[in-house]
Amino acid sequence: MTTDDELMEQLRRIANEVDAVPDLVDESARAAFTTRRLDDELAELLRDSYSAAPAEVRAEQPGPRMLSFESGEVALELQIEEIHGRLVLRGLAVGTLGDAEVETTSGTHSAAVDEQGWFRVDALPVEPLRVRVQAANGTSVTTGWIRH
């Protein structure tokens, strides 16, 4: 009789044969390292409407996703919506200087922040993104990666 351990070993061997990690997945895991930012302050995620509401509620009221981040004097409100296979990002930055930078895993987009603190980037690829702003004291503040 095959023992549990032997059966588990057979399954592990088969999984390695038919469901191994695809090369592309290994590659993007290795490439993730290039997103390292040594000097940036990671803003704290205070609220994510996608984590807050149960799925049923969202299904009835499909709307943009709202996220709030904070770091020291900096506050960021983000609104993300998928439209026709692209992401539209609207943001409100408080306590920042200059432009906002929106980074996806495939590139970086600069967004002008207006006097009220609003910024917007249209037609982003549907992939993980994060937003980087400069605090009034010169520190760079980055949100964590958001996967919409």
Partner: protein, 192 residues
């Protein structure tokens, strides 16, 4: 199989890509197995795995206990999987429960790929057991074999339940195998 996480994390913090690659080589199969356990298709599983490693990059300096890195990755991977399932509205309220069904979104891995007929039959039997057990066993199938702490983190279940669950799920699998004559002979130890 034991890699020195402390040294590797330390080198990665100093910017050593080779050390990072070594961590990926050691743990990406576990992270992938978790995503597949949650029945994500290849594209979604890819996303969940990528997000897990991106999160490790942004938290590289916050990981205090390098010995628990695998558990941290497993917890993060589970959260990313649940987030993806939630997004596509497939998640049900108590989806953290290992025994709860999540509708199958993944294309079944093709047993026809297996050259060995017995392996094919065993894999087909695996795909017929309950979904909770499939998820549980798929995580256990990671290479190198995950510790119970890692399995606990990957599935959000108590360490103490893992042994009994493993026994119960393998028993389920055995019953299906016994219904399959060609496999049953092999498992009884009959000559091939």
């Amino acid at each position: 199989m034991t890699v020195d996480n402390v040294a590797l994390l330390d080198s990665a913090r100093r910017g050593d890509q080779a050390a990072w690659d070594a961590l990926v080589a050691e743990y990406n199969n576990l992270v992938w197995s978790i995503a597949r356990g949650y029945r994500l298709d290849t594209a979604d599983a890819h996303d969940a795995v990528q997000m897990t490693w991106l999160r490790l990059v942004e938290n590289l300096h916050r990981i205090k206990d390098a010995e628990r890195l695998a558990g941290w990755l497993a917890t993060t991977a589970r959260r990313e999987c649940l987030q993806l399932l939630r997004k596509s509205g497939r998640e049900r309220p108590a989806a953290e429960d290992v025994l709860l069904d999540i509708p199958d979104s993944a294309a079944p891995v093709d047993a026809a790929l297996l050259l060995n007929e017995r392996d094919g039959a065993l894999w087909r039997a695996f795909q017929l057991i309950g979904e909770g057990c499939q998820r549980f066993l798929r995580v256990l199938m990671a290479s190198p074999p995950p510790s119970y702490q890692e399995v606990s983190a990957a599935l959000g279940i108590a360490v103490g339940t893992i042994g009994p669950t493993r026994q119960r799920c393998l028993e389920q699998l055995r019953r299906l195998i016994m219904a399959d004559d060609s496999l049953a002979g092999q498992l009884r130890g009959d000559p091939a």
